[in-house]
């Protein structure tokens, strides 16, 4: 039996078919179902799951998000609530979603629209990753964390980030300005001194009205404990280095 991937379905495939998304709300203490119909949808399910979905399956495994066209955003919005799939067509993180079975999706094959190009597909995957696995920091430290992430991502950071798995941050909040400890998590073959020096260079460019880097340490993944991961915030180098904010 074939699977959805073999049949040409991919994350980012567009379906032209009127389908309905529903959610529940309360009204005067009663639970009510609200349904909205949309005529275009984009497949959000990952390619590996499409590969493992037989086309006769009747389990609701495939996630679709409606493709909207009213008042589209003016930039690509990879880190925004609304993401532009193509000129005039976008998805909104807050729009209701719909789950369908592989059998139903495959039935709509004749209505499958031309797929997104490779660049937009990669961008869409990144956007979905940000929606489902968003790095977050306490609200009062968000500006400082963004500043560090921005400094890590710009300039030399784009080149060195290939060798750096992640940059973790811990904050000392009782000082003015706040202090930051940076931890670079590197691949085994990466030179730790080069990464320390790079992080020190990042530190010299962090706006001191927001905070100051007071400690820098670098280690491999095997030198990084689960405790450190659980008690640190990620600058999420891999995702924040993605730069494509404007339609081209």
């Amino acid at each position: 039996m074939s699977d959805l991937h073999t049949e040409g379905w991919r994350q980012g495939s567009i379906v032209v078919r009127k389908l309905t998304a529903s959610y529940l709300k309360t009204l005067d203490g009663r639970i009510e179902e609200v349904s909205t119909s949309y005529s275009r949808w984009v497949v959000c399910t990952q390619d590996c799951d499409l590969r493992s979905s037989r086309i006769d399956s009747n389990v609701p495994l495939v996630e679709l998000r409606p493709v909207l066209d009213a008042d589209p955003p003016s930039d690509w919005g990879i880190r925004s609530r609304r993401f532009l799939l193509a000129e005039g067509a976008y998805v909104d993180a807050d729009a209701p979603r719909c789950f369908v079975t592989p059998a139903l999706l495959n039935m709509t094959s004749p209505e499958r629209d031309s797929a997104l190009d490779d660049a937009r597909t990669r961008a869409f995957k990144t956007w979905l990753g940000l929606r489902y696995d968003r790095p977050a920091v306490p609200e009062h430290l968000a500006d400082l964390a963004r500043e560090i992430a921005k400094r890590c991502s710009g300039g030399r950071g784009q080149a060195i980030s290939k060798d750096v798995h992640d940059v973790l941050m811990q904050f000392e909040e009782d000082t003015q300005p706040a202090r930051v400890a940076l931890f670079g998590v590197i691949e085994d073959e990466t030179d730790p001194e080069a990464v320390r020096l790079w992080l020190a260079d990042v530190a010299t460019r962090v706006n001191t009205t927001l905070g100051v880097v007071a400690s820098i340490d670098v280690g491999t993944r095997s030198q990084t404990s689960l405790e450190l991961l659980e008690t640190s915030y990620s600058a999420d180098l891999s995702q924040l280095t993605w730069r494509s904010n404007r339609p081209v």
Partner: protein, 179 residues
């Protein structure tokens, strides 16, 4: 806040030199309706300010600062007085470089000049002090040397957290564009 805060300089990590192009920084002058670009000043006044702040933050003597800048002590004296030395552009870049590092170390040292001085003068395990590395025009190395003086390098195999995050804080999406 330092009077010179707002001037940001790109430091090239490849050779640790400081370029002369200020990043695009804007300052609101009249509420929201007039925005003017920050003017990068190389005036004697700015050099004087940088010099005075460096001396105040560190309690360095003019000779100490002269060694960091690789100039004569009379040049530092001229800078402190606000007179224009001959090697203007060269000194400007060196002062900004030193100021960038020392400003941060001073904040880490809770703005205590003695503590700042200690962190900058202590020889690190790598064999150099921050002062020496600033004199060699290696600001990122200097910053690391001062941090190593504050907190010696880890000898344990595992990275140790310093300020573990507390649970329960409301968090904000780091990746989201600010509204």
């Amino acid at each position: 806040m330092s009077l010179t805060e707002g001037f940001y300089w790109h430091v090239s990590p490849s050779d640790n030199t400081v370029g002369s192009t200020p990043l695009k920084e804007r300052k609101n002058v009249f509420d929201e309706w007039v925005t003017t670009p920050e003017v990068a000043s190389r005036s004697p006044l700015k050099l004087q300010l940088l010099t005075q702040e460096l001396l105040a933050w560190t309690k360095w003597s003019q000779r100490n600062l002269a060694a960091v800048l690789s100039v004569s002590h009379s040049t530092v004296s001229a800078l402190e007085q606000g007179t224009s030395p001959a090697s203007f552009a060269y000194l400007h870049d060196r002062l900004v470089e030193a100021h960038t590092v020392v400003r941060r170390i001073n904040l880490i040292a809770e703005q205590d000049p003695s503590k700042t001085n200690d962190l900058l003068s202590k020889t690190s395990a790598a064999g150099s002090s921050a002062e020496t590395l600033l004199a060699q025009r290696k600001p990122a190395d200097a910053y690391l040397a001062a941090l190593d003086a504050l907190r010696p390098r880890r000898v344990e195999p595992m990275i140790q957290g310093i300020w573990p995050a507390k649970s329960g804080d409301a968090t904000q999406d780091l990746a989201e564009d600010p509204v």
